[in-house]
């Protein structure tokens, strides 16, 4: 019987060694192209971030792919508005102090510098619906160009709290999670393909001392509220930015669900209703003009951020083919705008 035991042990050891890795699979070479990125804002000074694309196996740093010697121009209606030139900018500056021996310190500084291309001459501020085009060229990375229409400020026809819309989710021990619904009626501009995002600041009074305070919705880095596509109350569970694909150029009501503070890990110090009273909600509406591929990617990233650390985030989503709007290169020339509307709590 001992021989059988030996055989079984041998086989189990073989099995336990079965996961094996092999490195250096042949991989296709990538030809780098110019990458142009910017978000232009109505009334703002245009800028352009110019870098190059890189192969998936290339070890890069941020600065190693930034292109500083490209020729960049901004055009509008067939007229060159200005040449652009690279300008270095300090992004971060960290000083490290290390005690090498008692009383002897070593200092070193880690500096992150990046930069963008800015106009070399004064130009008129960009106006809503201006159609402008960036043209860039580089001897090694070729020519690239992209145009964008300056996003107008979102036209909000109305914001209203939906009457009797507070949803209460009951938990054991009497705790409740409260949500309410806002109807945000937007008049979508037809000239651009854009998407919307919302955040809200809930203003409240605390009873003690009548001191005014504010609270924000969920976590600061997550703007997404729960959004439904239609005003009929059917929740599709869509989170994150919402595309105007289905209502391009039309007036449309988007229902936004807001989670009210006071429960379950979220602003719990406000749990006792008699301690505070909501008095208004500032609804921030953001609008970004970008291709649908970019929209998909942004939404995926938002989901990832929202669920970071949750088991489900480990399961990859379907790959997103990000479609930029730069001809001859990569990147996104987008435009952005937003505004705030206040709605008073009855």
């Amino acid at each position: 019987m001992n021989s059988y035991k030996i055989i079984f042990c041998f086989l189990w050891i073989s099995l336990s060694l079965s996961c094996t890795r092999d490195l250096d699979i042949p991989f296709p070479e990538h030809q780098p192209l110019l990458t142009l990125n910017t978000f232009l804002v109505e009334g703002g000074t245009p800028f352009l971030q110019v870098s190059r694309s890189f192969g998936a196996l290339e070890t890069i740093t941020d600065s190693s792919i930034i292109v500083k010697d490209a020729v960049v121009e901004l055009w509008k209606d067939g007229v060159k508005l200005s040449n652009f030139q690279y300008k270095d900018t300090l992004q971060s500056d960290t000083v490290y102090i290390e005690e090498i021996t008692p009383g002897q310190f070593e200092y070193y500084v880690e500096e992150t510098r990046t930069g963008v291309y800015l106009p070399t001459s004064d130009i008129e501020p960009l106006a809503a619906f201006d159609l402008v085009e960036f043209q860039a060229s580089h001897p090694a990375y070729g020519n690239a160009s992209a145009e964008v229409t300056i996003t107008p400020e979102p036209e909000i026809l109305g914001v209203e709290l939906v009457k009797d819309s507070i949803i209460t989710r009951d938990f054991d021990d009497g705790y409740q999670d409260k949500w309410t619904a806002l109807k945000v009626q937007v008049n979508d501009p037809g000239e651009i393909a854009n998407y919307y995002n919302f955040s809200a600041v809930i203003n409240y009074w605390q009873d003690f001392g009548q001191q005014q305070g504010t609270d924000t919705l969920r976590w600061p880095q997550i703007v997404a509220t729960e959004i439904v596509r239609e005003a009929d109350g059917v929740v599709y569970g869509e989170n994150g930015p919402i595309s105007d694909q289905e209502f391009d150029g039309q007036a449309h009501t988007i229902v936004v669900y807001l989670r009210l503070p006071g429960c379950c890990g979220y602003a719990e110090d406000l749990a006792q209703e008699d301690e505070f009273t909501y008095y208004s909600v500032d609804v921030n509406t953001f609008m970004l003009d970008a291709s649908y591929g970019i929209f998909q990617q942004k939404r995926e990233l938002q989901r990832y951020n929202r669920t970071e650390g949750i088991e489900g985030a480990l399961i990859p989503t379907e790959p997103v083919s990000v479609v930029g709007n730069v001809e001859g290169g990569y990147g996104l020339i987008g435009s952005f705008n937003g505004n705030t509307r206040r709605v008073w709590v009855p």
């Binding site: 086989l11 189990w12 073989s14 099995l15 079965s18 094996t20 890795r21 092999d22 490195l23 699979i25 990538h30 990458t35 990125n37 804002v41 109505e42 009334g43 000074t45 971030q49 870098s51 998936a56 070890t59 740093t61 792919i65 992004q91 989710r169 938990f171 054991d172 021990d173 705790y175 999670d177 600041v201 600061p220 929740v235 599709y236 569970g237 890990g265 500032d282 970004l288 998909q296 942004k298 990233l301 938002q302 989901r303 951020n305 489900g312 985030a313 399961i315 990859p316 989503t317 379907e318 790959p319 083919s321 990000v322 930029g324 990569y330 990147g331 952005f336 937003g338 705030t340 509307r341």
Partner: protein, 837 residues
């Protein structure tokens, strides 16, 4: 408001042809011979056994219940009853009345017969094309991973049938997805047929009697899936004596017993299998973690069947299957920091399994009319749970924190089916019937709870539960015109209902054969299929977290049509069979997750799975399949080759461009050889080669600016009423995000498109040897095997990895990014002990 949609695409001549051929037989005086063919040793029915009248050269095959009916002119007859591996019986008599004749054939020991394959009817004689049958005994002889005999993996050696990844027991037939296979166990669908993440299938070969796969040219009696029908039948139980068989292998043990409850009248079979990985892994993992954690996994299957002969005309069967996979892990942690102690416990569980039951009643209405009424139940459930508890104790207080997560996904069917086999003449075998199935879909239910002394939260998120009905009728005629031409014409109509929506699908089925010579025939087929069920599956996820969902108004049904043609030949006195088939298949109404969605994101777990999918996809698949098979002699086996192309297209994926399906495989070769050295020793070997799987891999990337909707400064917009962004000035951060790892902010570039990157080719050789010896109590076999004999590191998954390439002058590591492959199985030996008594 009720909506009814019609999906009708049928050859206009189909119904006319059926009617014409049905009434065209003008009968002279004829009588019918009918009965059952059984195995003399155990009373087991012989399926697809041949009954042939040598005088008129007319013949038929037994049906799935061993019944045959042959109507011949009144005259003397010379009947030959035959079945592979069994003695042939000749019976001569004068046919002057309707006659019932049940025949039992004797099984021949191996030294008496060189025919290994059970199939007697040559491919060249069959009307049907695109079918695969592998005898269970032959499947048992093939070398297998860890010695676990696997029906599904044996089928993967056949042309037109692909496995998914390494070791997978998934089926991908002629470009179809895994949801497009109807897998029937005793006529009841099974929804998930894998154990251990797909390395083994749920089918215990000891409990099975036959396996038949249809890749195309589907008979009208089958439907509800687009790409294949796998019809697996369980043994019925020995009516004459008790017997058993079993095995002990590296990871599992099996035992099957069968015998009469009432001799010659009622029999049973009970077959079980259980793995014992957990018995080893739990103590080992506990020891490895100093008692702080343990993991365990096991699966089991239990098959059973009772077969009762009520009378010559009535038989009753009850069969069931239950099987589960159970994974569990536990970890504990204790810490004592002076006056404060901390205890933590975490448990995780994952389980999935099927339950299946079927009650069948065979009834013989006349010598020519046989019926089978089946009531079925099937359920597949996936469940995963996790819970944890931590307790912090100080001298004056105790703080407890608990959480629990529970996830469940389920599909359940109740069905009723009535099938008739009608044999009006040797030139017509007519099958018709009706069916109805009620499906209950519960794609997902998630329960989350957490509690401390101060707070408590319980949330249940349930996706919408859908009930659907699938009902219909079918008619098919297997007809012969002259000696050389035969055809199977059929039509199937299915009515589908979900809520107040309903639709019809009418599907035409045609298969025809023309025999050029006695040994060569040409074949062709055309079939339409409709499927009212979808599977939501993420590419690359190896866990059984696929969701079965119904066709709805928003996500309509899928349908396909397939045309195939080929030549079949019997060579060298039937020692070899050769077939070459070409096929073209189109699929419509396919679904896939939207870009950026998966099982957890986008609503699949929030009751809104319809929002997560792209609909209206199309698929196109075409190719050539070659099979050269040796079915007789001491050496048997086959060589299969498939050349195929397989595409998908969705309007919102890849800008609407078509892209290769994940399992698009240009070349696929299988070589299977078994050789019997003598009565005691037999050898077997297999070799497979396949073009590498198509995967989506970023080959480049570029930097992006931070999304202006994400940075903190814009979340806290904090503007005043009516204030616009422009009026607040321009203050973007210029930081370029370049990390293209998931969530890194950079943008991945898929230069070759979806599934545009090829993994390395797959090839592998398995070898096996068996030593069999007769014992006083029965027979024992030692089976030794080697999986992946030359230890080819076949890719399972690719991923990017940073490795230290060198060190700079300061001693800091310099990293190099590599694409790394993970290979699961190098050479793996196996041993198992089988016994029969």
């Amino acid at each position: 408001m009720k909506h009814t949609n019609w999906k009708v695409s049928v050859f206009p001549t189909q119904i006319l042809l059926l009617s014409f051929f049905f009434i065209s037989e003008l009968q002279a005086q004829k009588f019918t011979i009918s009965g059952y063919l059984t195995d003399a040793a155990n009373g087991e029915k012989l399926l697809n056994a041949a009954v042939f009248d040598a005088k008129t050269e007319q013949g038929t095959l037994t049906n799935l219940y061993g019944f045959y009916s042959l109507t011949l002119p009144a005259d003397s007859v010379d009947l030959v009853f035959s079945y592979g591996g069994f003695s042939t019986q000749n019976i001569r008599f004068v046919l002057d009345r309707d006659t019932t004749l049940s025949v039992s054939l004797d099984y021949l020991a191996l030294d008496e017969v060189e025919i290994i394959a059970e199939e007697v009817e040559r491919k060249v004689d069959q009307t049907q094309m695109s079918t695969v049958e592998i005898p269970i005994e032959q499947i048992k002889r093939l070398p297998a991973l860890l010695g676990e005999v696997d029906v599904i993996k044996a089928l993967q050696y056949m042309p037109g049938v692909q496995s998914g990844n390494e070791g997978s027991s998934g089926l991908y037939v002629r470009g179809g997805g895994p949801d497009q296979n109807l897998i029937l166990l005793d006529g009841v669908p099974l929804y998930y047929v894998s154990h251990l993440g797909g390395f083994f299938s749920v089918f215990n070969a000891d409990a099975l009697s036959s396996v038949q796969l249809y890749k195309g040219g589907f008979p009208a009696r089958y439907g509800e899936r687009l790409s294949s029908i796998l019809d697996i039948r369980m043994k019925e139980g020995n009516l004459n004596k008790f017997e058993g068989e079993g095995s002990i292998g590296l990871i599992s043990a099996k035992l099957s017993i069968q015998g009469p409850i009432q001799k010659g009248k009622t029999a049973f079979i009970l077959s079980g299998r259980r793995t014992y990985i957990d018995l080893l892994s739990r103590p080992l993992s506990r020891a490895a973690t100093d008692g702080e954690g343990s993991v365990g996994y096991f699966f089991y299957d239990l098959n059973g069947k009772i077969n009762h002969i009520i009378s010559d005309k009535d038989r009753l069967y009850f069969s069931f299957y239950m099987g589960d996979d159970k994974f569990g892990g536990k970890s504990t942690y204790e810490d004592d920091l002076g006056g404060e102690s901390y205890d933590e416990e975490f448990n995780i569980g994952l389980g999935w399994g099927n339950r299946l039951a079927a009650l069948r009643w065979n009834h013989l209405w006349s010598d020519q009319l046989f019926s089978n009424l089946t009531a079925t139940f099937t359920r597949y459930q996936l469940r995963t749970d996790a819970d944890g508890k931590s307790v912090t104790r100080t001298s004056d207080s105790t703080f407890t924190d608990e959480f629990a997560l529970d996830y469940r996904s389920q599909i359940r069917d109740f069905g009723l089916k009535l099938d008739f086999d009608f044999y009006p003449s040797p030139n017509h075998e007519i099958k018709f019937g009706a069916f109805s199935t009620n499906h209950r879909f519960e794609p997902s239910t998630v329960g989350i709870s957490s509690r401390t002394q101060e707070t408590r939260q319980d949330t249940t998120l349930t996706s919408k539960i859908d009930y659907t009905w699938e009902s219909g009728v079918y008619l098919e005629d297997n007809l012969k015109i002259g000696r050389r031409f035969s055809a199977n014409l059929g039509i199937r109509a299915t009515h589908y209902q979900i809520n107040d929506q309903s639709s019809w699908a009418i599907q035409a089925r045609t298969a025809a054969r023309y025999q050029l010579t006695d040994d060569v025939s040409l074949k062709g087929s055309y079939s339409q299929m409709t499927q009212f069920i979808h599977l939501l599956t993420n590419n690359g996820v190896g866990l059984p977290i696929d969701l079965w969902v119904p066709a709805t108004e928003r996500v309509p049904s899928q349908d396909s049509w397939q045309v195939a043609g080929g030549v079949s030949a019997s060579l060298w006195k039937d020692r070899y069979e050769f077939s070459l088939e070409g096929y073209y298949k189109e699929m419509n109404g396919l679904i896939t997750f939207k870009e950026g969605n998966n099982f957890f994101f986008g609503g699949a777990t929030e009751g809104t799975w319809e929002e997560t999918v792209e609909t209206g996809g199309t698929g196109e698949s075409y190719g050539l399949e070659l099979l050269l098979q040796k079915k007789q002699g001491k050496t048997t086996g086959w060589l299969g080759y498939t050349l195929s192309w397989n595409w998908r297209q969705f309007d919102n994926i890849e800008l609407g461009r078509r892209f290769p399906y994940k399992y698009d495989r240009r070349h696929d070769i299988s070589l299977v050889v078994s050789h019997r050295l003598n009565d005691r020793i037999s050898l077997a070997g297999t070799w497979v080669f396949g073009t590498g799987n198509a995967i989506t891999l970023p080959t480049a990337g570029y930097g992006a600016l931070e999304d202006p909707l994400i940075p903190d400064s814009f979340n806290f917009f904090g503007g005043r009423e009516g204030q616009s962004f422009a009026s607040r000035g321009n203050s973007f951060a210029y930081q370029l995000l370049t990390d293209i790892s998931y969530g890194g902010g950079g943008v991945e570039l898929f230069e070759n498109g979806r599934n545009g990157f090829r993994m390395q080719a797959y090839h592998r050789m398995d070898l096996g040897i068996e030593f069999t010896k007769a014992k006083k109590w029965g027979q024992r076999t030692w089976a030794l095997g080697v999986y992946n004999a030359y230890s080819r590191l076949n890719p399972y998954v690719y991923y990017f990895e940073n490795n230290i390439e060198s060190f700079d002058a300061s001693g800091n590591p310099v990293f190099k990014k590599n694409l790394t492959k993970l290979a699961l199985f190098p050479i793996i030996p196996s041993i198992s002990y089988r016994f029969k008594f």
